[in-house]
């Protein structure tokens, strides 16, 4: 079981309030991702839940019991750190066994669980190596192994993939998702990468300056962002924002339209502009369009390969039902 409830949790460092009072419920078995730009307080929030930092005020409860006063060791949570934080002087076997040894489990039980975890994570051949002799991905798996043997109430991941190269990151993303499906244990995952958030989460918590901007499933956030910040943060490439006449015509201060919701044509359309840089990805082409009279450069996505050259005139038509409207405060209308 692993339901985690934050009630009016607040954190200050000296005079600086990094997390204003905040409420959040993470349900048992949920994969919850904290996402936001660096410095938004997502890691601090995770460390508060872990018990590595004290809350200034408010209450954290795990499985219905208040854990606010408990030291990290007593909270029944396991954490995977950005730097993996493996014990360099211990073999992989000893690293994975460490939490069990601390819990005072009998030797044969430890052995059984370590063997089990190693086979789940494909680490059986590496059990007697030191962390220094492993690759980044293997180290990451050892860190995960160390977390799962304890059978914790919840797993906490602090940007676990940011030290891996791009190809490995995609693989590990799948492995972690797979692990979640198999264990169905609560996981809290911190990242600044919205792609990780979108692909892995059951529930995304978007944070900015310690405030929760929006909580919801990936598709809710994508389809109905509550404000311009969430709208701009979720989705890639970023949503285009347009102000002025076009917006007020629709009764909004700002309108937003995603690059994939704009149709392109070389003959006619609602807006027109000049083609700037085109990014050809094969499956898609991202075209940056200048001089549309809409303010900023507009980015559009065209499926597959399209034949526009730098400097060509291009016509754009936004899909009316996909236009997001925001008021002067940036809130969704």
């Amino acid at each position: 079981m692993g339901q985690i409830i934050l009630n009016q949790v607040r954190k200050t460092f000296g005079d600086v309030e990094v997390i204003p009072p905040l409420d959040l419920t993470i349900n048992d078995g949920e994969f919850c991702v904290f996402v936001g730009p660096s410095g938004c307080g997502k890691s601090t929030l995770l460390r508060l839940i872990a018990g590595l930092e004290d809350v200034t005020s408010g209450d954290i409860s795990i499985d219905g019991q208040s854990a606010t006063e408990l030291p990290p060791a007593k909270r029944g949570l396991a954490m995977v750190f950005q730097s993996y934080a493996l014990y360099p002087h211990m073999s992989v076997r000893k690293n994975i066994a460490f939490p069990l040894r601390m819990a005072g489990l009998p030797k044969d039980e430890i052995e059984k669980r370590v063997t089990n975890a190693a086979s789940v994570l494909n680490l059986t051949d590496y059990l007697d190596r030191r962390p220094g002799q492993l690759s980044g991905g293997q180290r990451q798996r050892v860190a995960i192994g160390r977390a799962i043997v304890r059978e914790p109430a919840a797993f906490l991941f602090d940007e676990p993939l940011s030290n891996l190269d791009a190809a490995l990151r995609v693989g590990m993303r799948l492995e972690i998702s797979e692990l979640h499906k198999r264990l169905s244990t609560t996981m809290i995952y911190v990242t600044h990468d919205q792609v990780e958030a979108m692909t892995m989460a059951d529930k995304i918590v978007v944070l900015r300056a310690g405030n929760i901007e929006q909580v919801g499933s990936p598709l809710e956030l994508y389809k109905a962002p509550r404000n311009t910040f969430v709208a701009g943060f979720i989705g890639s490439p970023k949503m285009n924002f347009i102000q002025g006449e076009q917006a007020s015509a629709l009764g909004a201060d700002t309108i937003g339209i995603r690059p994939e919701h704009i149709d392109v044509s070389d003959t006619q359309g609602q807006w027109s502009g000049r083609v700037g840089v085109s990014e050809h990805l094969g499956s898609d082409t991202f075209i940056h369009v200048h001089d549309t009279g809409l303010g900023d450069t507009i980015t559009v996505r065209a499926a597959g390969e399209v034949d526009f050259k730098h400097g060509d005139t291009i016509h754009l038509t936004p899909r009316a039902d996909q236009i997001h409207k925001f008021d002067a405060q940036g809130l969704r209308i």
Partner: protein, 276 residues
């Protein structure tokens, strides 16, 4: 720097460096050589360098006359005991400052350093008096305590700089893994810091071994270490160069060997991390 250097220049460098190195090392070499000479050969005119009748008799005379082994034992106890005690007190303190720093940490570190700079002579009498009152004069225990205290700031500083290099996340991981503070320090921090702790021990054994103010002023016949043993040779008595050399060789040999192992860490320890 992987650069092409003419072998002529390299030869000149080598000759020059070896020449200077041998001149600097010569007093030690000469002492070692003289310790194997007879007293007559030790003052021969012209001096003999290698071609003399090698003898070990000086070593046995020194041992018989002044009981070298006892002084050696005292030195070992004082240097080893003060270092060990210092480490036990310093590890927790250095842990605190390295991993739970507060606004005052820097001030505390600087203050600790400042106690090291208190001139010994300024507090000689109070310590002397306290030693008499507490019955510690000429006792090994008293010297262990004093040398531990004078080297404690260096031990804490060295450990602090080594601990600072260990990522805090690893200790946090241990905490998450259910380790108590004791287990965290014993099973995670200490093994990881073994190289640093070893060099701290090494340097402080050397410093304590060679300390020659308190060891000379607070001991007499009973607890005197090798510094005092050698000082007893300061009033010459007839022909004594060979015996002085033998005694000196025995006093410096153990630490010379330890010192060569620790030369890299020396810089860091003696400059309080200001030069690495």
């Amino acid at each position: 720097m992987a650069r092409a250097v003419s072998s002529r220049r390299k030869s000149i460098n080598t000759a020059l460096a070896w020449g200077i190195g041998l001149i600097i090392f010569f007093p030690i070499l000469w002492t070692i050589l003289t310790s194997f000479k007879t007293e007559g050969q030790a003052i021969a005119d012209p001096p003999v360098f290698l071609f003399f009748d090698w003898t070990l008799e000086n070593y046995s005379i020194v041992q018989d006359r002044s009981d070298y082994m006892r002084y050696l034992w005292n030195s070992v106890i004082i240097a080893g005991g003060s270092t060990l005690l210092g480490i036990i007190i310093a590890v927790p303190a250095a842990w605190s400052m390295a991993f739970v720093p507060s606004k005052r940490t820097k001030d505390i570190l600087m203050w600790m350093l400042s106690t090291k700079m208190l001139p010994a002579v300024g507090v000689l009498y109070p310590i002397y008096l306290l030693f008499i009152k507490l019955g510690l004069l000429d006792s090994l225990f008293g010297l262990v305590i004093v040398l531990m205290l004078i080297n404690l700031p260096i031990i804490i500083w060295m450990l602090y700089t080594y601990f600072k290099e260990i990522p805090g996340e690893i200790l946090e991981a241990a905490r998450m893994d259910g380790a108590s503070l004791k287990s965290e320090i014993l099973y995670v921090l200490t093994p990881m810091a073994i190289p640093g702790i070893a060099s701290t021990i090494l340097l402080n054994v050397i410093l304590a071994w060679n300390e020659a103010f308190w060891t000379l002023n607070l001991t007499a016949a009973k607890a005197g270490p090798l510094t005092a043993f050698i000082a007893s040779y300061s009033s010459p008595e007839g022909l004594f160069y060979a015996k002085l050399s033998a005694a000196s060789t025995m006093a410096i040999a153990p630490i010379l060997i330890l010192g060569w192992f620790s030369q890299k860490q020396l810089v860091r320890g003696l400059t309080f991390g200001a030069v690495k």
